[in-house]
Amino acid sequence: MSERRTNREFEEVKPEMTPMIDVTFLLLIFFIVTLKFKTLEGRLDAALPKDRGTSSSQAEEIEKVDVILQVANPGQLVPDPSTATQSRPEGRLLHYSGRRIRYTIGGSEFTNLEEVHRFLDKFDKEETPVTIDARKGTIYEDVVKVLDVVIELGFKQVAFAGSFEEE
C-alpha cells in the first residue's frame, strides 16, 4: 500500500492545458473581432480669432478676400453607394446628390471650384486674408472644399465669418 502511494507521488504532474487554451483562444478571437485598424484621417488647420467675438475693425486698408457660400441647389439626400455594406447594398450613410453651391467673391459669382481656384490664384497669398463666409444651409463638406482650395493655393491667413444671422 505504502509503496504504491510513493509511486504515485513521483508520477509526473501534468497540468490540464485545455481550459487555458480555450480561454486563450477566446481572448484571441475577442481581440481580432474588436480590432479596428487605425483609421487614416487627415486634417486641415485653421485658427480662430484670438480675441473674443467677431472683430469689428472696419478700418482695414489691405485687400481682403471674402468667399461667400450660398446654396444654389441643396440636392437630394440619398444613400451613398461608396458606403455600401452587405446588409445595405445601397449604402449605409447618406450624401447629397446634385448639390450646387454659389460662390461669391468680391461681386463675381462662380458655380464651381475650378473657377474659384483660378480667380483666387491672382491674389497675393502671403498678404491677403481670406474669410470664408458660409451662409444658410451650407454643410461642412462645402466649407471644407473651399478651405481645401484656399489652402492649396497657399493663403496664409484664413478665417471664418461669424454666424450672427437669425435662425
Binding site: 486634417r43 480669432p49 450624401h95 461642412y140
Partner: protein
C-alpha cells in the same frame, strides 16, 4: 513492440502553439489603439490638402454628427432640442445658450489639461494646444460655427482648431 509504444504515446506538444497564441494576443492588444474609441462613426469630407494627422496624445476630439450632436469621449455635450436650463449665451446677448454643456465641459475638463501661453497683445492666457473638430460631411456648417464660437468664450480661449478631413480616393467623390 516499439512501434506499439509510439502509437499509444502520441502527444502533441502544446507549448509552441500556446506561445504563438499569446504572441498574437499581445499583438492585438497593442494594435487595438484605445484612442480610437473616441472616434464616432461618421463620414469625413474629402480634402486634397488634408495634412496627414499624427494625433498628439490627449488632444480633445469633438465629434459632430450630421444632426449637430456633439460627442466628446462618448459623452453627448449638445443635441438638438437640448434644455438650456435658463442660461443665456454670453456672446449673443439675450439668446438661449444651448451650448452650456459643451462650454462647461471644455472649461472644467478639457482646458485645465491643455498647454497655455500668455499673449502679450491681449494680456490674456490663451490655450496653445489644438482641438480637433471631427464633423460628418453632411453637418450643417452653422453647428461647427457654434462650436468655434464656444471655443472663443472667456475661460476657454482655444484658438487652434483642426478640422478632420480624409485624403481619400476619387471614387469617394460624387
Amino acid at each position: 513492440m516499439a512501434r506499439r509504444k509510439a502509437d499509444t504515446d502520441v502527444e502533441v506538444d502544446m507549448t509552441p502553439m500556446i506561445d504563438m497564441t499569446f504572441l498574437l494576443i499581445i499583438f492585438f492588444i497593442i494594435v487595438n489603439d484605445l484612442s480610437q474609441q473616441e472616434l464616432e462613426e461618421l463620414k469625413l469630407p474629402v480634402a486634397k490638402m488634408a495634412g496627414h494627422d499624427d494625433p498628439p496624445p490627449g488632444r480633445p476630439i469633438l465629434n459632430v454628427l450630421p444632426d449637430g450632436t456633439i460627442v466628446w469621449k462618448r459623452r453627448k455635450l449638445f443635441w438638438d432640442g437640448m434644455d438650456t436650463m435658463g442660461r443665456q449665451d454670453p456672446i449673443r446677448k439675450g439668446r438661449p445658450d444651448y451650448y452650456w454643456k459643451l462650454a462647461d465641459t471644455l472649461r472644467d475638463e478639457v482646458v485645465p489639461f491643455m498647454k497655455k501661453e500668455f499673449d502679450e497683445n491681449l494680456q490674456k492666457e490663451l490655450v496653445d494646444d489644438p482641438i480637433l473638430i471631427r464633423a460628418d460631411r453632411n453637418t450643417p456648417f452653422k453647428y461647427i460655427q457654434r462650436i468655434m464660437e464656444v471655443c472663443t468664450r472667456e475661460g476657454i480661449l482655444i484658438w487652434k482648431v483642426q478640422l478632420a478631413a480624409s485624403e481619400e480616393t476619387p471614387s469617394d467623390q460624387h
